[in-house]
Symmetry: C2
Subunit: 317 residues, 2 copies
Amino acid sequence: METTIFIIVPSGVHPLDLTGPAQVFYEAKTLGADFELTYAGIENVESIHSSAGIKFGGLRSWQDIALKENDIIILPGAQMEQMQKYNRDTYCDFYDWLVLQYRNKVCLCSICTGAYFLGVAGLLNDSSYTTHWRYHDYFRKAFPYGKLETDHFFVSNGNLITSAGISSGIDLSLHLVENRYDSALAAEVARECVLYLRRGPSDPQLSVFMDYRNHIDDRVHKVQQYISENLDTSLRISELAEIAITSPRNLTRRFKKVTGITIGTYIDRLRVEYAYQLLKKGLVFSSVTRQCGLKSEEHLRNLLKKHRNQLPSDIMS
Amino acid sequence: METTIFIIVPSGVHPLDLTGPAQVFYEAKTLGADFELTYAGIENVESIHSSAGIKFGGLRSWQDIALKENDIIILPGAQMEQMQKYNRDTYCDFYDWLVLQYRNKVCLCSICTGAYFLGVAGLLNDSSYTTHWRYHDYFRKAFPYGKLETDHFFVSNGNLITSAGISSGIDLSLHLVENRYDSALAAEVARECVLYLRRGPSDPQLSVFMDYRNHIDDRVHKVQQYISENLDTSLRISELAEIAITSPRNLTRRFKKVTGITIGTYIDRLRVEYAYQLLKKGLVFSSVTRQCGLKSEEHLRNLLKKHRNQLPSDIMS
């Protein structure tokens, strides 16, 4: 079912706050996801100046759009002085509408100081959230009943997702693509955007489909793409080398050099992840084994034990 | 002297191609850099649809702007079908103007398929360059005299800088900020954008000021910022712990956990980098030692040997 991505554009918006998510959902759409992007102003305006000078235009009114459960509202931020002019009194209809969308289970996502809208709407009360590091103190004072998390790129709390700032709107959006579709699509979108993926002790863990793509060797990317799309086959190195238009020996060396792991380990990890997804869906073990390109159930059982430290029964239950 | 950043907006532009650089230069400007951002269309239009639907407006005409040596033209990309309508015959004035800017030593930077403009203008002939991975084959055929590099985020070749695609326009722009000002400012901009910095075997090496900032622990960032701004002082851990509002023991643990190195090693590396920059500028060794917060020249000599494997004379010559 089509998901509407409704981006609300404040005056003085930070361009990257807005276009990070827009680019991610646009690329996901060109890769087959059923997303529809729409943009609106808060005031009744057709275009708005961004902080960096360029104007954003073709904006609708937020009143004109009917959203349904699971649709997504993106709230990019602007400089704090700009945000503060969106006070509760003048914009009470807008804030009432935001609260209504929240109750209707539309997913509300703030980027950077966009969390200000959620705060004024009262939606941060008793909720964990994050915002741009520069405004941590300001938010603590302005919204004392919210639980500010200061060490996450984004914080997901039911149908409220907040991100740390500017470029982390990209992370938040990749997370949504991964959640609504799967991690393979999120990895493809990241690759389309030539994006490095975030790593770090306080990141939400990304799936193995997103791992090891942190390089710019095009031939290795081609091989990784092929592997992820052909996990049900035997995946011989000679065959992968043909895809990379190189020798098996050279591919093996190159793969290890840019990803840090061997092709064999990479394939195993993707198979384990894929098996996990299929088991979660309720498929029987023999069918999962076959779809993961493995001949023996024992083999898959060993891989699950080794890489996830889980028995099939742990996952299926 | 003020640098004009002149962003040329093709019809159907990829939003992130444009706003990645725009956000970087805007943040650098708010942090004190003397950049002026201006946007123009290629056709004589006031606004243009982006690939993701939102319109970019307030565009000037490229004919209206006089650029000087070292000013910067950014050429974002669009979908290839859109790019191809900018053929040489219809837009010959624009291409002649581009070539003239190149000869006048304006810095021409393409993002993603924006390299198409440089190709049609004949500026990729015998030059190394890069573009979005999806169009490598297309570019090889269309511009056979260029040297396509397929494993770099961006390629810098005199006053021609090309980037691999979409988000790598951010890397290219950070590189320009670093080049025009210094790596400390580039690191501050990246931090303002909540950007992870690119790492990888085929990246151009970034300076140590950009290293070890690949985390989201706000207190550790504060300490790192303080260190980079106070290299001429003694920098005791007790004093750094006060800045982080924590105990020396806890700061030490936290710093190591998120950066992977100790505070002491971090300070040493920044001092060596700073010393290197000052020696390159021609300052005498005793003065450099003092400005790096070190009491003995022997100490600095040892640090340079250990971390750069260079003698002061190697750098000064």
